[in-house]
């Protein structure tokens, strides 16, 4: 008899498994090829031994009886829930044949590649789509309203993204010499107890609070942060942009902004013509001038001076441009035109938001806004952290650029304890974020020209290299300008989570000729696939992660039947679809991507993780001063002007408002008083649960025990007014549909708003239609629309709609 031994293996989390955006170091205990225990790695700088409920439940996840373990082929009709086991060879052959048929008959762009949240997957889905020849990689959320729009908005005016500084860039973390704990942090629409989204370990903020950071919380709900905040600004959902304008108003009018930063590093001094309202370009004042260069007014010579974007400096380096005032500028045709500065334009817009007005829009008392703004502005250093609430509104770009201006104007950009540029460690791209070039590119520019939405929306053209979701759904029905015939769906839940108006998505999926789904479990979405492939968990794959720092490997520590990792699956198919595919093995590809780090996959694996040293562009601080951001190594930013653009040149060129401002969202009591008569409550959605990541984990017993039912939070008074008791089942209904939730009486929500959990389906119920794992029962997305994306194609009203509530009948409750 052999005695089985437990061995302990180090690896890094990143989906599938916990569902989050990963990065924690874990110790996996393996016995007889099975996971018997998982613990946090106390040596890992990211989590320092800590671990969340979802990773700690990995034994129940990895060994779950319902896991997909073999490729399956649908044998019944779509939605009948009938499947047969097939071999990998059969599955891949059939996929190759059927996708080739679509490519030959309709062109590669007729296959859409759908991806879910930020898992270890975007690079590999892009690799497959591009090898096949399709530019249509789609994040299936309306207005792509999660993270990507924020990245695009920040990129528009600042070049690089920036995140709060918890010394995550250094192996010695908080002890790092030169690091400073933020004195103040604004937590904007982000709830901690639950998740670690966007690659940040959420509880770093708790670490900072213990070290003295004071919180300003901006959230209509009393979140944990709200309860611990020095200032809690409880705004009406969808009015965040009015609030940011109010904060800017206080900061500018009180003079608590960093004049040196504004003068030296922003385009505040660039002139705008009074007649056209557009920026003066060098070509306006000189027939030989360049359109890409801008013009300021030099107070020393009392004449125009050209801002040369190629050199990121004024042509006369001694020039001292005016920041404010009106000047008369001679144009190349000899006429004169009055001009004002971009700073004046910015301040004029900000002046539109006196605090009384902001109070009337947001519901936040003017005094509170003033105190919070001054506290943030005076605190040195201060940081901002935001959640997905900022993306989930149609005018997200005017909002996000306003928040970005907060940290820039207060001089908190890329300083210790401020908002710090987020670059991939060693510039190794493991995760092809929208706008980031992965290892595998489309072969031709022409192929990208067919990407849905690219020619309509500037952010999609410049920064967000995905198809526009709402337009893609429309095109499935319209087939205009070309038909969509197939969909590759990888670890994404368009039916139960990503898709608003899921009834319409169901019709769309039913219309397609061929669907492949790659997942860990069968879901409502996989029921519409022709072939379902079993994905490996993070414990069952070799991969790596550089989002943002450190660079680290994910190590395969076990196998589960025939489950294969997402990169393995896509690599195999990419080779089949592209005869010129340049990599022999997946590890050749990994080595290629890792080249900027100077390490091979094997070398990095031996180290475990690596932190970029000082002087590398992915190591802070003050990189705009050191020339570490731009490809030409000049000081400045990766923007068209090379400056932080308080007045966005790209948005002006695209006919979009260049300055932050407030727009009332489409479905609020203010914009739709007619609807408010029948639907008097504000419906907000998406409160995070500590047990689940979006639609996942409902089948994991330890996690479901924490959060067993779809819950809607309602103020006790509101519940009483409706004659509903705590714990009773109710319907939430509006003009689009209704969903069933369990009422939780709690004053954490205001009386006029309810907060419904998202992502609910019931894996314990029947797969076959009409049940579809009960997804029609409590999916709140049935009340939320498609096609309400912002003017720039980004953002959508997901966290603010309107509804009414009423009790379920006893029969409806007993029905299950």
């Amino acid at each position: 008899m052999t005695v089985s031994q437990t061995t302990i293996h180090k690896t890094t989390t990143w989906s599938p498994g916990p569902g989050c955006h990963g990065g924690c170091g874990v110790l996996a205990h393996i016995r007889d090829g099975k996971l018997v225990k998982i613990e946090g790695d106390p040596d890992h700088p990211m989590n320092q031994g800590r671990l969340c409920a979802r990773v700690l439940a990995m034994t129940q996840y990895n060994n779950h009886p319902d896991r997909l373990r073999y490729p399956e082929r649908r044998v019944g009709k779509r939605g009948e829930g009938k499947w047969e086991r097939i071999s990998w060879d059969e599955a891949l052959d059939e996929i190759e044949t059927r996708m080739n048929k679509i490519r030959e008959e309709y062109g590669p762009e007729s296959m859409v590649f759908n991806v879910g949240t930020g898992r270890d997957i975007y690079s590999w889905v892009c690799m497959l789509a591009y090898a096949y020849g399709s530019p249509n990689v789609m994040f299936g959320l309306t207005g792509q309203a999660c993270y990507g729009p924020r990245l695009a908005a920040v990129a528009t005016i600042q070049g690089d993204f920036a995140v709060f500084d918890a010394a995550q860039w250094f192996e010695d973390r908080y002890d790092h010499p030169g690091y400073k704990v933020p004195e103040c942090m604004i937590i904007w629409g982000y709830n901690i107890h639950a998740t670690c989204p966007d690659n940040q370990f959420g509880h770093w903020i708790v670490d900072l609070m213990k070290k003295g950071t004071k919180i300003i919380c901006i959230d209509p709900r009393l979140s944990w942060f709200g309860s611990r905040a020095k200032y809690h600004l409880r705004l009406r959902p969808g009015t965040d942009s009015a609030l940011v304008m109010g904060l800017l108003n206080v900061i500018i009018s009180s003079g608590h902004y960093d004049r040196d930063f504004v003068a030296k590093w922003t385009n505040a001094a660039h002139l705008i013509r009074n007649d056209t309202g557009r920026l003066v370009r060098e070509r306006d004042i000189s027939t030989t001038g360049a359109a890409k260069n801008f013009v300021a007014w030099d107070t020393i010579g009392n004449h125009p001076v050209v801002g040369d974007t190629g050199r990121v400096s004024y042509r006369d380096e001694k020039a001292l441009p005016i920041m404010s005032g009106t000047v008369e500028v001679p144009l190349s045709d000899g006429t004169m035109v009055d001009c004002h500065t971009a700073w004046d334009a910015f301040c004029k817009e900000v002046d539109q938001y006196p605090l009384e007005k902001v109070e009337s829009i947001t519901g936040v008392p003017a005094k509170e806004i003033e105190k919070a703004a001054l506290f943030y502005a005076k605190a040195k250093p201060a940081a901002v952290h935001w959640g997905v609430a900022v993306d989930m509104t149609p005018a997200l770009t005017p909002l996000v650029t306003g928040i970005t201006a907060l940290w820039a104007l207060t001089g908190n950009l890329d300083i210790p304890g401020g908002n710090v540029f987020a670059r991939f460690a060693f510039d190794v791209v493991s995760y092809a974020l929208p706008g980031t070039k992965g290892a595998i590119k489309l072969k031709t520019q022409e192929a990208d020209n067919l990407r849905i939405g690219k020619d309509k929306y500037m952010p999609l053209e410049k920064f967000y290299w995905r198809s526009q979701t709402d337009m893609t759904l429309d095109q499935i029905f319209s087939e205009d300008p070309y038909p969509i015939k197939g969909m590759w769906i990888q670890t994404a839940g368009i039916m139960q989570g990503l898709g608003m108006d899921p009834k319409r998505w169901k019709k769309a999926l039913e219309k397609l000729d061929f669907i492949v789904a790659v997942d860990v479990f069968q879901t409502p979405t996989t029921q519409f696939a022709d072939i379902v492939l079993p994905a490996a968990t993070f414990l069952e794959k070799d991969s790596f992660r550089s989002w943002w720092v450190p660079l680290q490997t994910i190590n395969k520590v076990l196998e589960t039947d025939e489950a294969r990792s997402d990169p393995e699956i896509n690599f195999e198919l990419a080779k089949r679809f592209d005869p010129d595919f340049e990599f022999e093995t997946l590890y050749d590809l990994y080595d290629e991507i890792l080249k900027p780090s100077g390490m091979t996959f094997e070398e990095l694996q031996a180290k475990g993780w690596a932190y970029p040293p000082e002087g590398v562009s992915s190591c802070p601080y003050r990189r705009h001063e050191k020339g570490l951001l731009r490809p030409d190594k000049r000081p400045g930013f990766r923007t068209p002007t090379g400056l932080f653009e308080i007045y966005s040149t790209l948005r002006e060129e695209s006919g979009l408002e260049p300055i932050p401002h407030h727009e009332e969202p489409p479905f609020t009591p203010v914009s739709r008083p007619d609807l408010a008569k029948d639907y008097p409550l504000i419906l907000s959605t998406g409160r995070r649960s500590p047990a689940f990541f979006h639609t996942e984990h409902r089948q994991i017993p330890w996690l479901r025990d924490i959060d067993p039912d779809p819950v809607v939070e309602i103020h006790p008074k509101t519940l009483k007014d409706h004659g509903i008791g705590h714990g009773e089942w109710i319907w939430i209904e509006n003009w689009m549909g209704r969903a069933r939730f369990k009422a939780k009486a709690t004053p954490v929500v205001p009386e006029w708003m309810i907060m419904a959990a998202h992502g609910w389906w019931f894996p314990e119920r029947k797969a076959a239609e009409p049940d579809l794992y009960g997804m029609w029962q409590s999916n709140i997305n049935q009340l939320l629309p498609m096609n309400q994306q912002g003017k720039d194609g980004m953002g959508a009203p997901i966290k603010h709609s309107m509804c009414k509530i009423y009790k379920c009948s006893p029969e409806e409750v007993n029905h299950g």
Partner: protein, 113 residues
């Protein structure tokens, strides 16, 4: 005189965020099925004057808490203590924990069964 209760858990409930890590860490360590475990997190919302509220999450060791004696014998922290995302649970000798308690408000000291 009965058994002496030397060890306890000190909870800093100012910083417990309600992540429920302790619950699952305990269930994994001690093999409890869903619904059972040595620690549960409770939510308390206290109404304050002027329309304010204070939200508290409070981990409570149940009848099933054994203070992870198997782990502590090996010099490891109890599973809930090691994994706590907010690092708000401390394991130790009761007098030492009581001493720590006097230095900071919003603490509770549990001496499980």
């Amino acid at each position: 005189m009965g058994k002496k209760h030397e060890y306890g858990l000190l909870i800093d409930y100012e910083y417990c965020t309600g992540c429920h890590t302790c619950q699952v860490a305990c269930a994994q360590e001690n093999n409890w099925p869903a619904g059972m475990g040595g620690i549960r997190v409770n939510e308390i919302v206290q109404t304050l004057p002027k329309d304010k509220y204070y939200l508290t999450y409070l981990p409570f060791p149940t009848e099933l808490c054994v203070l992870c004696t198997k782990r502590t014998k090996k010099g490891l922290k109890p599973a809930c203590v090691q994994h706590c995302m907010a690092s708000c649970i401390t394991y130790g000798k009761v007098p030492e924990l009581a001493d720590q308690m006097m230095k900071k408000a919003r603490m509770v000291l549990w001496v499980p069964k």
